[in-house]
Subunit: 206 residues, 2 copies
């Protein structure tokens, strides 16, 4: 089929989009590089130029998702809203939903625990400074009270990465609900916020 | 070479000990099942009867280490010491030292992230109930004040599993020192303890 000329960046996005669809419908293990070629309609060399393996595509998808969450968090942090509202909105944006969580299920495939860990640590690294700045704003506004905003956020994101993951501890729905309450309780305590101010965590819009 | 008759459990321990030495001196990837056979001096069939693969041996070593930490934590928790001293001693026992940490370095080998995650989640599962009981004792003694001992401990162990790991976030010594302080600070706050009571964390003997 004839195709319009695309930039390398556009090609890369097309490959990632096709792989995302295949990984979350057919599954990561059964999908072959040939399947991806078939959907995108490019030469084999072009695909391997961008990604030497299926694993590298999955890694790129993970980093793309985290990049999107980070951009959304930056937008929310840059708004004129009070710090508490920003924090709730960022927490909601971090709850990767829909096909993104289907993507994460692919981490169960053997050899993908490395990616699972990567997704947790990248989330901690990229979100901690953004959220810490929101906490500092909250201290100025008098809703938070802590002299360790960075430490508190890093610790809460680390615990959340393990405890709120749908796969790692194989939690029941009741476990997840209890742990969500536990994280909110600990957040209020560590950030020096009024009890209840961060709960419930709505699907906030700023 | 002639060998005395051993029970299956003793054989298993011999295999684990030999593998532990090889994995931490030669490395996990370069060690072969034949190397292990050579050290233990048993028939190939006997080795494979106990462990179908090198990966399963590493998994068994991880679970053995966690089992030892759990037993030590139970002993400490069963002593007649005050809760604060017990907690400090258990935290010290959890800091896996020497060849155990060399074993953990083998997690960097491709495909071993799964084991790395397993070691963190098993530590959380096995230690949380033991430490939570110590916290409840501390509440009775008036040194701790919390109505969420289990949630607090689970959260602190989860954060520690990620933040105090020597590999996962690739921390510098300064990062590790800061994060250790951060965990102690958060522990005191979440457990409702007097600031400073858990710091510094000595190599406590009960």
């Amino acid at each position: 089929m004839p195709r319009t000329h695309r930039s390398a960046a556009q090609r890369r996005e097309e490959i990632l989009n096709a792989a995302h669809t295949l990984f979350t419908t057919k599954g990561f293990q059964p999908t072959t590089m040939e399947d991806i070629l078939g959907v995108v309609g490019i030469a084999k060399g072009t695909l391997y130029y961008h990604f030497p393996s299926k694993e590298k595509i999955l890694e790129a998808l993970v980093l793309r998702t985290i990049g999107r969450v980070e951009r959304r968090a930056r937008e929310l942090a840059a708004s004129s809203a009070p710090a508490v509202d920003k924090l709730k909105a960022i927490m909601a944006a971090m709850q990767v939903e829909g096909t993104e969580s289907e993507l994460i299920e692919q981490f169960h495939a053997p050899g993908n625990a490395e990616l699972h860990l990567l997704s947790i640590t990248e989330m901690i690294k990229h979100l901690t400074p953004i959220i810490a700045d929101v906490i500092i704003q909250g201290v100025d506004e008098g809703t938070f009270s802590t002299d360790r905003p960075h430490d508190a956020v890093e610790l809460l994101l680390s615990a959340s990465g393990i405890l709120l993951d749908h796969e790692i501890m194989e939690p029941s729905q009741a476990d997840l609900a209890r742990r969500t309450q536990s994280i909110i309780w600990a957040s209020e305590l560590l950030l020096g916020a009024r009890p209840g101010i961060l709960s419930p965590m709505p699907e906030a819009d700023l």
